[in-house]
């Protein structure tokens, strides 16, 4: 019954989405408020039905109802409850259901909190959401129905892929989808603006918070996925330039550009046409990502089963939405009036530069990801484009961007003073040079690139701090005045400073980890000692243990540094009998931002275990950086300016611009 109800709820959601895609548009055309308001009701009802459908699938997983194919394929009765729940989206059908659930969630949020939007704009936006939703409901119902039954139900399920039985699966896909799908809102706003033929600074103010929310989740989602790969795969890599990763990086790059260009549009009413294009491109890249991952076209060791009907269906969705929105753009964009003149050296100019480099970097990732596919289709040659390609293209494009980051916020709108900005960045520049010199001396020559890159990162961080000290007048005015000014600064200013500093922090982590990472690979027997980067790891006993749905071999390492005992590390190797496959559970020991990393390989006949030990200096900064960026995003989001329709304060004490 539950499965049928879930299926039925999904069909009803499709019906609602179809209504939502047509009626409000007619309403907007005929200026009929009643018809336009249909969008609000259908969006909320759609959310209700999709949530019911999702809850139904979750219930099937929790009760281990193996008469449903999807549950049988991906669950097992002995699986811990958490993984029964996360298993819902650990497979194709379920993850598509999560995709549409999040789409409906965003639609519902616009419907619920979009009361201050012009009625016709809200109708158009929700109608466009309805188109996307209809397409994906059809996709699920026709090609990937998670509620199909098996005629003769088996007693036991085939279990979830062991690699996915991890807390990472609970967090990473929902986060990533909140990001991916969140960009559908800015897409819907862009298409609505084109349909209406009207776009102004207020439009940018409405779009920005949604873009920001999506961007925050995508940032965290990518970082989380990277950390998950790092500890779960057992060889300490955190980014592989795998097409699946690139699929999430491309919308992130375009989305970051969009965030910045929307600022220009909001403040200066310029770059309108470009911002619209970026909104379309960002969501198109999200759709492309969904296509790449869900259709199985990738020449990737990622295991995605290939089913051509699905691939063709998503490709069709992709072509209709990207082609349609770009044609609409080509047709209507010229109707949008350009405004806001600015000199090349100005805040706007800096943001344009940011956009140029981000989109160019995004384009290189796009080429690197799709070129092998195109080549295989055209010539049949199979090639792989790996890290070297991206290091040679992505790196050089990010370098000038990083140098420019501290300058941007210090330039004035309209016409900036580059020399003045440079003068104010003197302290940051000196800090960077000091960092380079110290690292150079400390590493005694060696790799020349690493100290320079770290110097650049220090420059970015110090530049972000400079922006704050300049605005608060810290060190120039009495401390009390400075703190008062700091409280009065718009949250968005704090937000951008945090986010920019986060980029620098992540860069330090990346450079340190790749340059000074040390490893020990060898086979060890009990009481053998491995030495790495000043640490001593002594292998103690090796024991067998039984988990809920696996058996594991645990090795205990006693870790000490300069004779001081730090604790034990217990990496393990798990064997999952249901799928007769195994996973490597790495053990991590955190010291500050650095980590020791131990993972086990196979046991040899004479009782020795293959062991891989890494020392990764400052590796955690790689993920603290994105967390800082997301924090900056949250701060920006809390800026009162973006809370459109926030009630005007009785007295505008600080003379802040109240939201409209």
């Amino acid at each position: 019954m539950i499965a049928e109800s879930g299926h039925y709820a999904l069909v009803l959601a499709l019906a609602l989405a179809l209504i939502q895609s047509t009626v409000p548009i007619l309403g907007a055309r005929w200026r009929d408020p009643a018809l336009m308001n249909v969008a609000r009701a259908t969006a909320l009802a759609q959310l209700l039905f999709v949530a019911a459908s999702f809850a139904a699938l979750a219930a099937l997983y929790i009760t281990s109802d193996f008469s449903v194919v999807n549950v049988y394929e991906n669950s097992h009765s002995t699986k811990p409850l958490l993984y029964k729940i996360t298993g819902v989206w650990g497979n194709h059908e379920g993850s598509m259901l999560l995709w549409v659930s999040i789409l409906a969630l965003f639609g519902g949020l616009v419907a619920a909190f979009g009361n201050n939007l012009p009625l016709s704009l809200r109708a158009y936006v929700l109608a466009v959401q309805g188109w996307i939703a209809s397409a994906f409901y059809l996709f699920i119902l026709i090609t990937s129905n998670p509620f199909l039954r098996i005629a003769s139900p088996p007693i036991e399920g085939r279990d979830l892929n062991p690699v996915l039985q991890d807390i990472g699966l609970a967090v990473h896909p929902p986060m990533l989808y909140l990001g991916y799908v969140g960009f559908s809102i800015s897409f819907a706003f862009a298409v609505a603006a084109l349909l209406e033929g009207r776009i102004d600074a207020a439009w940018a103010r409405w779009v920005r918070p949604w873009t920001l929310v999506a961007w925050i989740f995508l940032t965290l989602g990518i970082a989380m996925g990277s950390y998950w790969a790092y500890y779960e795969l057992g060889w300490g890599g955190w980014w592989f330039w795998d097409p699946v990763e690139n699929a999430s990086l491309m919308p992130w790059l375009a989305g970051t550009a969009l965030l910045h260009s929307a600022v220009v549009m909001e403040k200066r009413n310029a770059l309108k046409v470009w911002t619209i294009l970026l909104s379309i491109l960002t969501f198109s890249l999200s759709l492309l990502g969904t296509f790449l991952v869900r259709s199985g076209v990738l020449t990737s060791v990622h295991a995605f089963a290939t089913d051509p009907t699905r691939g063709v269906f998503i490709l069709l969705i992709l072509c209709i939405f990207i082609g349609g929105s770009l044609s609409l753009y080509a047709w209507r964009a010229s109707a949008l009036k350009q405004g806001g003149l600015f000199a090349p050296i100005s805040r706007e100019g800096a943001l344009v530069l940011n956009n140029l480099f981000l989109t160019a970097a995004c384009a290189t990732v796009f080429i690197g990801t799709l070129y092998p596919l195109a080549l295989e289709v055209l010539t049949g040659d199979k090639i792989s484009v790996g890290a070297p390609f991206f290091n040679l293209t992505f790196g050089p494009l990010f370098l000038p961007l990083m140098i420019a980051v501290p300058f941007g916020p210090l330039l004035a709108w309209k016409r900036g003073d580059l020399l003045g900005a440079a003068q104010r960045l003197t302290a940051a520049g000196i800090a960077a040079l000091l960092a380079v010199a110290m690292l150079w001396a400390w590493t005694r020559g060696g790799n020349a690139f690493a100290p320079l890159a770290i110097g650049l990162a220090v420059f970015v961080i110090a530049g972000a701090l400079t922006d704050l000290t300049e605005r608060t007048g810290l060190f120039r005015v009495p401390f009390a005045t400075a703190t008062r000014r700091a409280r009065g600064l718009p949250r968005a200013t704090w937000g951008s400073a945090f986010a920019h500093a986060g980029v620098g922090v992540a860069l330090i982590g990346i450079v340190c980890e790749t340059t000074w990472n040390s490893e020990y690979i060898g086979s060890m027997r009990p009481d053998d000692v491995a030495k790495i980067a000043g640490y001593e790891l002594k292998l103690g006993d090796v024991t067998q243990r039984k988990g809920p749905n696996f058996s594991e071999m645990l090795a205990r390492f006693a870790v000490s540094h300069d004779g001081e005992r730090l604790g034990d590390m217990t990496p393990s190797k798990r064997n999952f009998s249901a799928r007769s496959s195994s996973t490597t559970e790495a053990a991590l020991l955190t010291r500050g931002a650095s980590q020791l990393y131990v993972s086990l390989g196979e046991t040899t006949a004479d009782g020795a275990i293959a062991v891989r030990i890494y020392h990764k200096p400052l590796v955690l900064l790689i993920w603290w950086g994105p967390i800082l960026m997301a924090l900056g995003g949250v701060l920006s989001l809390s800026d009162r300016r973006l809370r459109v329709g926030a009630p005007k304060p009785a007295k505008s004490l600080r003379g802040l611009q109240a939201a409209e």
């Binding site: 394929e73 990473h172 896909p173 790969a229 699946v244 060791v301 089963a305 344009v352 040659d381 195994s582």
Partner: protein
């Protein structure tokens, strides 16, 4: 500056960045692209020693030899030809004899493929796509290599979307 000059500056700047990006891409394409090959393709079209490529095929049953200090050798076969592979390090969890594997590295002077990365298939029903395609083309594809799909045509476990660790690999 006049409006026209400003616009020209912007367009000029954009074109310059795009040109740089294009140059970087073309340059990187020349040196850092890795081709995929199987033992049979190698026999037909030899690759020079020292040139990196990806080798795919099945691990020949009974060919896996473990040496000292984590050195291993095995044969990669694709039905008609085999090629010896040497690797030093820890093999991925899912590396098995008789099953699909992709190794990245280069041939040495003696014709042994020195792999520095070994990627094994992901779960018990999955075969690396290149290997499956190559075997099909050469007529050595057996249905039991691939996904043993039940009649109701559901898919084997697919990983969640995104940079998830659904990759089995070893690299050093």
């Amino acid at each position: 500056m006049t409006r026209k000059q400003r616009r020209l500056t912007m367009i000029g700047g954009s074109l310059a960045v795009l040109a740089i990006a294009a140059a970087l891409v073309l340059n990187a394409m020349r040196d850092s692209i890795v081709f995929f090959s199987t033992p049979t393709m190698l026999a037909e079209k030899p690759v020079a020693a020292g040139k990196r490529f990806r080798l795919g095929g099945l691990v020949q049953p009974g060919s896996l030899v473990r040496g000292d200090n984590l050195a291993v050798t095995f044969q990669v076969a694709d039905g008609s030809n085999t090629l010896p592979v040497a690797f030093k390090g820890i093999l991925p969890d899912l590396f098995r004899e008789g099953q699909g594997v992709v190794a990245e590295g280069a041939l040495d002077a003696a014709g042994v493929f020195k792999a520095d990365t070994v990627l094994a298939k992901h779960d018990e029903t999955y075969m690396p796509k290149e290997v499956a395609d190559a075997l099909k083309k050469q007529g050595h594809w057996k249905d039991d290599y691939g996904a043993k799909k039940p009649d109701y045509s559901a898919t084997p476990a697919a990983a969640a979307q995104g940079p998830s660790p659904a990759k089995q690999g070893v690299s050093q």
